[in-house]
C-alpha cells in the first residue's frame, strides 16, 4: 500500500462512521475499525522491508512552488510510531464501542477519532516538514473536538480550548521553526534536512529554529511549563485520554525531537534546554501525580512525568540515550494506555474515579484488578515488566551524565523522580484495588464485558511479554527505530535484557521501588500537607491570562472602534494629511515653472462670496435651512467659476445639479430636525477646527503646487482636441470626450445614477413597510404650515414654463455635441421641469398625469446606451465605437447625425428617470394616511369656485 494511502485512509474513512451510525453503533465501530485495520495491514506489509533497513518512500508534488509536497517516507521510527498509532487505535476503537453511552453521538466520535488518527499517521510518515505541519495542526484540531466531545461539560469545553491554545501556540511556533530549518537546509524534505547537520548547527538561525521547534514539541508533549493543559484534557472520554493523551498525540513532540535528533541534537543548547526541561517535567509530574485523587489526573501527571523522562533522554544527545528513549516510548505506550483504559473501566463500572471513594475492588473486579496492577507495576519499574527495562536503561544513562556541573546531581534527582513514580503507581494499585471493600459506589461495581477489558488486556500481555522477552519482541523495531533516530547505520552497543548485573542503576531502581512503597505508606500523612501548601494553580493562571487577553482585546476593539464617525473621519483626515505630507517631504520638487495670473474683480468677488458663505455656513450650520441657503451660494459661485475658467459644460451641470440637490435636501429636511443641537464643548470644536484647518491648508498647498508646475509629458488631451472634430464629429470637445473618447466613463456614470435611484426607491419601500413607515403616515399635520398648498400664480407659471423648459432641454440635447450641453444636462433640465410641476401642482396631481414609469426610463436609458455601444459590433468595431455623417435634406441646411447622439439619448433618459425616481421616492414618504389627492392643481381657482359676492365682513376692520 502506498504510504500516502496509509495516511489518507483514516481521513477518507472518517465519514464512514458518521454515515454508518444509522446502521447502529456496531456498524459505526466496525467501519472505523475496518478503516484502521486496513491502514494497519497496509503498514505492516512494509514492516519486513523496514526492519531490514530499507526506507520506503512515496513522492507526490503538491505545491512545488512552495516546496510543500506530499512526500512520505517510512523508516524504523515511522514504522514504530505508525504501528503504535494504528495498533492502539484499533484497541481504542473496540474499547470505545463499549465505553460510550447510548446517548453519546458515536458516529461523530469515530469520525473525530479517525481524523485524529490520520493526522497522527501523517505526522510520523511525512518526509516533508511542511506537510508534517499540516498534520501537526490537524492533531490539535481533532484533539480539540475530542476533548470537547461531551459538550455539555464546561470542563470539557474549557479543557478543549486550553489544549488548543497551548498546542496551537506550539504548532505555530513550529511552523516558524520548520520554515527556518527549511531555509537553512535549502529544502523542506526531511530526507534532505537530515543530511545537513553541520550546516544547520553552524547557522546563525540554528538557535531560533531550535527554540521554535522545541516550543512546538514541548507544548505538544506537555513539557514544563506547558504541561498544564494535559490534565484538563482529561475531561475527554477515557478512550480519548488513553489514545491521544497518553499513547499517541502527546508523543508527537517526542517523535519530532527524535526525528530531528540527528541534526538538532548534540549541541550544548540542545542539552541544556531539552534535558533540563525533561528532568523538571519528570520530577514535577511525578510529584503532582502522587497527590492527585482523580485516577485520570494521576495518570495524566504520570504521563507528563514519563514524557519528561523521554525528553530528558533525547536531550542527553547520546546515541544510546536516544535508543533508550525509543524503547521507553514503546513501553510507556503499552502500560499507560492500559492504565487509562483500566481507569475508564473503573469509572464506568463504579461510577467514580476518585481514589478516595475507591478501594477494595480486587474482588469485585478481578480481571480489571489484574490488568491494572500489572500495568501499574510496570509503570513503577518493577522487574519482569517492560517499564522496568527501559527505566533501568535510563538510569544507567543518567549515571553517565554530568548535569549542572556535577556528575551525581542528576542521578539523585532522577532517583527521587523514580521513587515518586513508584509511589503513585503503587497508590493506583493499593488505594483502588486493596483495602476494605466498599459499598458506597454509585453503581455496583463488577468486571465489564470483554469488549471493555480485551483491549487493556492485550496491552498488558505485551507489557509482560516485553518485560520477559524484550529482545525477541522489540529488538528489531527498537534497533530499526534507533537507527532512524540517531541517523547512523551502526547502533551503539546496548542490550535489551532483564539482568545487567549489579549496577548503579539497579541500586537506584531498588531505592526507587522501596522508597516508593515507603512513601505510599506515609501518603495519608503527607497528602494533607500537600493540599495545604500554597502552589500555583495552572488553570487559574491560564484563565486569568485568557480572561485578561479577552478583556484587553475587547477594550482595544471597542476603544478603537467606538462607533464614533467623528473619530473615524478625523483619523481618515489625519492619515491623509500625514501620509500626504510625508510623501511630499520624502521627495523633491522642481522650481515653479508657470506664471501666476492677475486677480480680476470677478475673481475677487467670487472668492469673497465663496469664502464668506463657507465661513458663514460653518458659523450658522446649526440652523440647517440657513446652512443650505449658504451652500447654494457656494454652488452658484462654483458654477460661475467654471464658466469663467473656460468650462461652460461644467457650469451648466453644476448649476443644474445644485438645484436638484437643494430640492433633494429640502425634501429630506422636512422629516429631519430643523436644528442641529449644540452638543459639543469648545475643546471639541477647537480640535476639529484644528484638524480641518490643517487639512485645508494641505489641500490648498497641493492645489498651488500643481498650478505652478507643468505636465511632465504632453497631455493625452492634445489628441482629443486635435481629433474631436475630424474623428469625433463634434466641436464641443468635452462632449465628444463624454460620449466618445471616454464614453465608457459616462456609461458607468449613468449607471451610478440609475443605481442611486434604485437604492433610494428600495429604501423608501422598506421604510414605508417598516414600523417607521407606520409612524410616518400617522405623523401629525404641521400646525404652523401655511394654508395654501398650491398657489395659483405658481401653478400657472409652471404650466407656461414647462413646455418651454422641455424645449430648452431638447435644444441643449441636440446641440451638445458642438456647444455646451448634451444628454446629461438636458436630462437635468427636463427633470427640473417635471419637478417644478410636482412642486407647483402637487405630487398626486402631477404624477397622475405621468404615464411612463421612471423605473422604465432608467432601464430604457441603460438599454439604449448599451445597444448603441453593442451596435458597433455589427461593423466589427469595439463597444461604443461611434459613427457620424452629414446629411442634406431639401429646405434644410446640412445637419449631422451621430450614433453618439443615440448614446446621449440613453444618458438623457437614464438621468431623467433617475432624478425623477429618486425625488419621487422622497416625495412619497411625505404622504400621510387618509390624505386624498386633490382633483385640482390649484387650491384657489376662481374659474372653478362659484362664490357669491357676499357682504364684506366689516366686523374685523382694523
Amino acid at each position: 500500500m502506498p504510504l500516502i494511502l496509509i495516511a489518507l485512509l483514516p481521513f477518507l474513512g472518517a465519514f464512514l462512521p458518521a454515515v454508518m451510525i444509522r446502521g447502529g453503533r456496531n456498524a459505526a465501530a466496525l467501519s472505523a475499525g475496518s478503516v484502521t485495520m486496513a491502514a494497519f495491514v497496509g503498514l505492516m506489509l512494509h514492516a519486513p522491508a523496514v526492519l531490514r533497513g530499507e526506507v520506503i518512500t512515496f513522492r507526490l508534488d503538491w505545491m512545488p512552488v512552495l516546496g510543500l509536497n506530499a512526500n512520505f517516507f517510512l523508516d524504523g521510527l515511522g514504522l514504530l510510531f505508525a504501528g503504535l498509532i494504528l495498533g492502539i487505535g484499533l484497541l481504542i476503537i473496540l474499547y470505545a464501542r463499549f465505553y460510550l453511552d447510548r446517548a453519546d453521538p458515536m458516529g461523530a466520535f469515530y469520525t473525530y477519532l479517525l481524523l485524529f488518527q490520520g493526522a497522527m499517521v501523517g505526522i510520523v510518515l511525512s518526509d516533508n516538514v511542511l506537510l508534517m505541519l499540516v498534520f501537526w495542526e490537524l492533531t490539535s484540531l481533532s484533539s480539540f473536538l475530542l476533548i470537547g466531545y461531551w459538550k455539555h461539560l464546561p470542563e470539557g469545553r474549557q479543557g478543549a480550548r486550553m489544549a488548543l491554545v497551548v498546542t496551537g501556540m506550539g504548532g505555530l511556533a513550529l511552523i516558524g521553526g520548520m520554515l527556518i530549518l527549511g531555509q537553512i537546509a535549502g529544502s523542506y524534505d526531511l530526507t534532505v534536512i537530515l543530511t545537513q547537520k553541520a550546516v544547520i548547527q553552524a547557522h546563525p538561525l540554528y538557535i531560533p529554529a531550535l527554540l521554535l521547534i522545541l516550543l512546538g514539541c514541548f507544548t505538544k508533549s506537555a513539557q514544563f511549563p506547558f504541561h498544564f493543559w494535559l490534565p484538563h484534557a482529561m475531561a475527554a472520554p477515557t478512550p480519548v485520554s488513553a489514545y491521544l493523551h497518553s499513547a499517541t498525540m502527546v508523543k508527537a513532540g517526542l517523535f519530532l525531537m527524535a526525528r530531528l535528533w540527528p541534526v538538532m541534537a548534540g549541541t550544548d543548547a540542545w542539552f541544556m534546554i531539552v534535558a533540563t526541561t525533561g528532568l523538571i517535567t519528570m520530577v514535577l509530574g511525578a510529584l503532582i501525580a502522587l497527590f492527585k485523587d482523580d485516577l485520570k489526573a494521576l495518570l495524566a501527571f504520570s504521563t507528563i512525568s514519563h514524557l519528561g523522562l523521554v525528553t530528558m533522554l533525547l536531550g542527553f544527545g547520546t546515541e544510546i540515550a536516544a535508543v533508550v528513549a525509543i524503547f521507553h516510548i514503546i513501553n510507556h505506550a503499552t502500560f499507560k494506555a492500559a492504565l487509562f483504559m483500566t481507569a475508564g473501566i473503573i469509572d464506568h463500572e463504579a461510577g467514580t474515579r476518585d481514589i478516595k471513594r475507591l478501594g477494595g475492588l480486587r474482588r469485585a473486579m478481578p480481571i480489571t484488578f489484574v490488568i491494572g496492577t500489572l500495568a501499574a507495576l510496570s509503570m513503577a519499574g518493577v522487574p519482569f515488566l517492560n517499564g522496568f527495562l527501559s527505566k533501568e536503561m535510563m538510569l544507567e544513562e543518567v549515571t553517565k551524565t554530568t548535569w549542572a556541573g556535577s556528575p551525581v546531581t542528576l542521578s539523585i534527582v532522577v532517583t527521587v523522580a523514580a521513587l515518586l513514580s513508584a509511589a503513585y503507581s503503587f497508590r493506583f494499585v493499593v488505594h483502588v484495588f486493596f483495602g476494605p471493600e466498599r459499598h458506597d459506589y454509585p453503581h455496583h461495581p463488577h468486571d465489564p464485558g470483554p469488549g471493555l477489558w480485551l483491549s487493556p488486556a492485550f496491552l498488558v500481555v505485551l507489557v509482560v511479554a516485553i518485560g520477559i522477552l524484550p529482545a525477541a519482541i522489540t529488538g528489531g523495531i527498537v534497533a530499526s527505530a534507533g537507527q532512524a533516530v540517531i541517523g547512523a547505520a551502526e547502533l551503539p552497543y546496548y542490550s535489551l535484557k532483564i539482568w545487567h548485573g549489579f549496577t548503579m542503576a539497579l541500586l537506584m531502581s531498588v531505592v526507587a521501588v522501596v522508597g516508593g512503597a515507603a512513601l505510599l505508606a506515609l501518603h495519608g500523612w503527607i497528602a494533607p500537607l500537600w493540599q495545604r501548601a500554597p502552589r500555583p494553580e495552572a488553570k487559574v493562571i491560564f484563565d486569568a491570562v485568557m480572561g485578561a487577553c479577552v478583556a484587553g482585546a475587547r477594550r482595544v476593539t471597542t476603544g478603537l472602534t467606538n462607533g464614533s464617525m467623528t473619530r473615524y473621519g478625523a483619523v481618515f483626515a489625519l492619515t491623509a494629511l500625514i501620509a500626504g505630507l510625508a510623501a511630499w517631504l520624502s521627495g523633491t520638487s522642481a522650481p515653479p515653472v508657470r506664471d501666476m495670473r492677475a486677480i480680476t474683480p470677478v475673481d475677487a468677488i467670487g472668492w469673497i462670496l465663496l469664502v464668506v458663505a463657507t465661513l458663514a455656513a460653518l458659523r450658522l450650520h446649526h440652523n440647517r435651512l440657513v446652512a443650505l441657503v449658504l451652500v447654494s451660494i457656494v454652488g452658484l459661485v462654483v458654477a460661475v467659476t467654471f464658466v469663467v475658467y473656460s468650462a461652460p459644460d461644467l457650469a451648466l451641470t453644476q448649476a443644474l445639479v445644485e438645484v436638484v440637490t437643494v430640492l433633494l435636501l429640502l425634501l429630506a429636511l422636512d422629516f429631519l430636525p430643523r436644528e442641529t443641537p449644540r452638543e459639543d464643548p469648545m475643546p471639541v470644536h477647537l480640535r476639529d477646527g484644528a484638524i480641518a484647518v490643517t487639512v485645508g491648508i494641505a489641500a490648498a498647498l497641493l492645489t498651488y503646487a500643481i498650478q505652478v508646475s507643468d505636465f511632465a509629458f504632453e497631455s493625452i488631451s492634445a489628441y482629443h482636441l486635435e481629433n474631436s472634430k475630424t474623428l469625433g464629429g463634434g466641436y464641443n470637445v468635452v462632449n465628444v470626450i463624454l460620449v466618445d473618447f471616454r464614453a465608457f466613463d459616462t456609461y458607468g456614470e449613468i449607471i451610478v445614477l440609475g443605481i442611486a435611484a434604485l437604492v433610494i426607491y428600495a429604501m423608501t419601500e422598506s421604510i414605508l413597510q417598516s414600523r417607521a413607515g407606520r409612524r410616518l403616515v400617522d405623523r401629525p399635520v404641521k400646525l404652523d404650515a401655511a394654508a395654501e398648498l398650491h398657489p395659483l400664480m405658481m401653478v400657472v407659471a409652471t404650466r407656461v414654463m414647462m413646455p418651454i423648459m422641455l424645449m430648452v432641454g431638447i435644444y441643449i440635447f441636440l446641440r451638445g455635441h458642438n456647444a455646451p450641453g448634451g444628454g446629461f444636462i438636458a436630462g437635468l433640465v427636463i427633470s427640473i421641469a417635471f419637478l417644478m410641476q410636482y412642486m407647483a401642482s402637487g405630487f398626486e396631481w402631477a404624477a397622475a398625469r405621468q404615464r411612463v414609469p421612471y423605473h422604465g426610463l432608467i432601464g430604457a436609458g441603460i438599454i439604449i446606451a448599451t445597444l448603441t455601444g453593442v451596435g458597433s459590433w455589427l461593423v466589427e468595431r469595439p463597444f461604443m465605437t461611434t459613427n457620424f455623417g452629414y446629411f442634406n435634406l431639401p429646405f434644410i441646411e446640412e445637419f449631422e447625425l451621430a450614433t453618439a447622439a443615440l448614446f446621449d439619448l440613453g444618458v438623457l433618459l437614464c438621468v431623467f428617470g433617475a432624478v425623477m425616481l429618486a425625488l419621487e421616492s422622497f416625495a412619497r414618504l411625505a404622504h400621510r394616511r387618509g390624505e386624498r389627492a386633490s382633483p385640482n392643481a390649484m387650491d384657489v381657482d376662481p374659474s372653478r369656485d362659484i362664490v357669491p359676492d357676499l357682504a364684506p365682513n366689516l366686523a374685523k376692520e382694523t
Binding site: L628, L630, P648, A655, V662, L667, K782
Partner: protein, 89 residues
Amino acid sequence: MIAMALTFAIGCFALGLALNLWRLLSSPTLGDRILALDTMAINMIALVVLLGIATGLEAFFEVSLVIAMVGFVSTIAYARFYLRGNIIE
C-alpha cells in the same frame, strides 16, 4: 468706452453681490435670506452676461440662460419649505 462701461457694470454687479451677501448674513428673517439668494442669482446672471460681452464667447450666455431658468426653482423650494415644510405634496 464700452470696455470702461463693462468694467463699471461688472463692478456694480460685483458690489451688488457683496451687498446681497451682507444682507443674507445680517438678516433676521429667513424670507430675507432667500430673497438675498435669489437676488444673488440674478446678479450673477448679469455678471455672466457681462463677461460674455467682454469676451465675445457664446458659452457664457448658455450659463446665464440656465441659471435664469432654474435659479428660481430653488428660491421657490426654499420659500415653499419655509411656508409648508414640504416642497412636494
